[in-house]
Symmetry: D2
Subunit: 144 residues, 4 copies
């Protein structure tokens, strides 16, 4: 799944590039977009009150500066799936000057988020609902 955004003024800081912490907003937007496509919009999960999928881990490696106005494509893929959790990998590609997404762009950042399924009442981990686990399984890399 891919998701794109343009670096806004408020994403940058006085050093002239994206403030590292603001990238996580965009990664989560990509995650929400992915969950929508999977049929499990995060807003409905939260309102439904059956499960929450909070992050237990997040990390990013910053490889090339992202500047105001740059078009960034986030490629997202499921990287791990357990009974009570899953993890997603992200590639953030900075498109070339001509703003066309032909050659995949320059790798500006990679990232990883790990999400744990918990019961909203007791805040304890619980197994992913069967239907969600099944939907996720279809997205696991082939070799697994």
């Amino acid at each position: 799944m891919s998701y794109s955004f343009r670096v806004a003024l408020h994403d940058t800081d006085a050093a002239g590039v994206v403030f590292f912490g603001h990238l996580f907003r965009h990664l989560h937007d990509a995650f929400e977009h992915w969950m929508d496509q999977l049929g499990y919009p995060v807003d409905q999960l939260i309102r439904g009150g059956e499960i929450l999928l909070p992050l237990t881990h997040a990390e990013a490696d910053y490889r090339a500066p992202m500047r105001h106005g740059d078009r960034i494509v986030i490629e997202l893929a499921l990287s791990q799936l357990g009974d009570t959790y899953f993890a997603l990998g992200y590639h953030c590609l900075r498109l070339d000057e001509d703003r066309e997404y032909t050659n995949g762009g320059k790798l500006a950042a990679t990232a990883l988020t790990r999400h744990c399924c918990i019961d909203p009442e007791c805040h304890q981990s619980r197994p992913l609902p069967d239907s969600l686990a099944q939907a996720l399984r279809l997205h696991l890399p082939a070799q697994e």
Copy 2:
């Protein structure tokens, strides 16, 4: 000009609705999008170093809650144009459940931003460049 976004988890707060201050990020995204279409991308203005267009005033009226997952359409229009400044008006419409933008949606917020043209060197106000003033003039409401 209209610009839309979906309310992300990070736009909301523990009271369950959009945190009022986060709306200004989206208003500025709409402004940047509008300046792109006008032919004056804000990132190029900042890098060009000829002028800056900082906000001297911003205000918003919140009329109906915007919740996680809501689709919001921002309608933006130039409302004032002076020698050294301009002002923009915003209508934020929350689309109906069915997520179609047919009847214009529910008015969730209105807003106003005023931008002053300054010289980046001395931080004093200066007239808008002729070409930008001309481009803006085409967008003034007819009655003026």
Copy 3:
């Protein structure tokens, strides 16, 4: 009541000054600090579930740039009190180079927020609870 903060890197943008929208986070921090001192912590109001105090209006005038590392003092005062709402005025003072708060600093921004008391269940406005109204009344400017 006064509240101070230092302009962080993430408060600024590529134009080198505080992004206008980020100021509202700090204004709300000052508001939360003020409500704490009043004996009505906002977190407890939200969790208590009796009332919410969402903003119905927010505005700011930006008068002088606030840069990374600047120490800002926010002076906050109640400016209006009605049966179902109240409004607060803010002065944001930028301290001088020597970082001492002796002469009151340079006025960098003024702002206003208006808060409406609503019932969290039906999202309709309701009168402020008596005890809160009484606590607020003590903070009204003398001439009123």
Copy 4:
């Protein structure tokens, strides 16, 4: 070095806890505070134009929910020091109900940031300035 903050309404999201990405703002505030104490305020480094210290890596593990109003203490320590980079480790402790920092609190999150020294002109890595390297060396854990 320790740095504390209170979880603000805008730090939380509709799930009722701190949005994971917003924690990085606070971690960076702690980093800026630490650099101040070291005698190398980040704002002066950026304005000085000799070096920049962008993050090349950031990660966090979320262990316990942080809620609106919680008092969080961030303990920060230098964990690695190379010729051109350094890394910092963070412990985020959530204080008990009584808001006293007696028993160290509950470990709510751990985190790591890695900072690379670069030349602002060419955006290539360069050795840390001697004086900064020396100041950092004093903060390395004893066993190294």
